[in-house]
Amino acid sequence: MTEFKEAKRQSPVAILLILYKVIRLILRQSLPILIVLILNPKGGKVDYVGIALIVISLISAVSSIMSYYRFFYFVDDKHFHIRKGWLVKSNISIPIERIQTIDFSQNPLHKIFNVVQLDIDTAGSANKEIHIDALTLSDAEQLRSFLYLKRGELNPEGESMEVQEEEEEITLHKLDLADLLKIGLVQNHLRTAGIIVAFGFTIYGELSEIFEKATDNFIEESYGALEKSGFYASLFLIIVLLVLSIIGSIIVVISQNFDLKFVFSGKGYKLTKGLLNKKQTTISLSKIQMLRWSSNYLQRKFSLANLNIFQASSIIVNIKKSIYVPGLNPLSIESITKNVFPAINTDHHQEIKVSKLFIIRQLISMTIIPLGIIIMSNLDQMIRGIIIALMWIIFSLIWSVFYFRKYKISIYEKGIRLDKGVLTHRGAMMEWKNIQSIGLKQSPIQKRRNLTNVVLYSAAGSMSIPFIDYNEAENLRDFVIAQVENSKKEWM
């Protein structure tokens, strides 16, 4: 196997990729100026545009080529080094034993030249994530397996944590176009509709700034037409919005999860997906800190659920690295939880009761802002305002009661599971040994009722338990802390 001791350059394709990045950056930053220059009806300035473009392209080209020639990577006994930069030089070295994951990704340009982008993620201080623009696939694979091997040697006590390429792979989940269509259909369309409406408003705002009068006239005319035709027109608009939302959801789902493959390979999971940018993420079992899953009302009818796997990542940067797998069967989620947290025996469990006061908290958080909006927007018609407000309060109350009833906290000997949600059911699971710290938080009202919120912090996000009895919370905390302190197992 190559030792990577000598300083090596990237694949020459990197020049193109860097050029692409530089040009994109410049374009993004100078877009307003360019538009103004091009749209400016006054003649004579075209030459400046031309000159500016030539200068920019020259600088970009030179800087890309220089970046390529000044970029080296190599490996010594304990560190992975990168030397780069021509105006600002930098030397980056990261301890190999601290490498967390090495990911490949490809955009269309990468695909054409059969190269990959390499991202090395470490548990270390900020700015230490290493990024190599282009390596040939074979180089990248060699480098990855070499680094993993080396890390294994440097960390003899820690089990070699990474997914080995040679491991037998079991495909747990695969999505073809039909699956994606189905998943797209059962997304939360209200959310998409919200995004579309917000987007519409922004576009309208921007357009009206540019063509002030024209759009106003247009909107006024169409609004007038709408008022004349009344009910049917609004119905039509709502249907159009709904159809747009559904199409939007489907497009988003397909573009994000195209050709998704979720694989288990003995020591971890591997997720490959993407339409234009194919991305592969590996996640090793021992680094998984938390699982979260969810399924909305429609998804449950089709027995579909979504899974989020959170793994410990950059410690100080605090990027929560997670993978998201949609369209799983709820049963396979159960089996994945068993696989990820084998220590948690789900046969015996205790439930912690959330106090009824939680209903009131939920009710308040659901009503305060909407009530304000309702009152402000109905100042001229008090009665209508009061009726709408009352309806909203009743709805919120019913919702809060159901939310309270669905809240289930199961405590196992080695971990915890949380289930909640009225229409969208959400679940989360965590093992005690992964806990970093525990906080008990009390508001004055909670203090008077001897209640508290408990927050369990892991290296990949936290989990909070609201409104439970204070003494019970203290017992739970002492129990969990004792487990963490006596645990000799690695938490990552």
């Binding site: 605090n318 906080g439 009390q442 004055p444 290296a459 203290e474 002492d478 129990f479 802390i481 645990s487």
Partner: protein, 178 residues
């Protein structure tokens, strides 16, 4: 069915619990620092109101005085809170973890086991330097929300605590140095 797990519950009672008497309170000089900070903040607020008053409503002195009452009241409330806070805020050092409670109205009680601590550091601002007070920060892998900051420690205590935590988390610290 639950008998096996109930055994664990009995164990829980035998676990060392946090006793309020054991809490080591913060340094008394910290009250001064907080008071000075609070005074600075509300003076600034009062200053803003005064400038605003002179520019916008030069004639109605009553409203002006009324507006000035606002930061004064808030300041007094803050002083009261600082005194109350001092009586409850503090830490406990145990063999395997560190405990810190803060807040009087809204309280937060954190425990971090030593084997989850990444590293610790001591900070000192100019005002704190004058009073010889330090701020201990304890970092975990859980990110900002799970990190712990213990302010208002005597500088020597803070350094000692940092040293102690460094020793307790020795192996991890070695990793941080390279």
């Amino acid at each position: 069915m639950e008998s096996e797990f109930s055994n664990e519950i009995i164990k829980i009672d035998q676990l060392p619990a946090i006793e309020q008497e054991q809490v080591i309170l913060l340094d008394e000089k910290f009250i001064k620092i907080r008071t000075i900070n609070s005074l600075g903040f509300y003076s600034l607020m009062a200053g803003c109101i005064m400038t605003f008053g002179f520019v916008a409503i030069p004639k109605s002195i009553m409203i002006f005085v009324f507006l000035l009452l606002f930061p004064i009241l808030l300041f007094l409330l803050n002083i009261w809170l600082i005194k109350k806070q001092f009586k409850v805020e503090g830490y406990i050092l145990r063999t395997k973890d560190i405990y810190f409670q803060q807040g009087y109205l809204w309280t937060k009680k954190m425990i971090i086991p030593f084997n989850r601590i990444q590293h610790a550091s001591v900070h000192q601002g100019p005002l704190e330097r004058y009073f010889n007070i330090g701020k201990l920060r304890i970092f975990t892998a859980g990110g900002q929300s799970s990190d712990l900051t213990i302010p208002g420690l005597d500088m020597e205590d803070a350094l000692k605590l940092k040293q102690l935590i460094g020793n307790k988390t020795g192996t991890l610290k070695k990793m941080d140095n390279d």
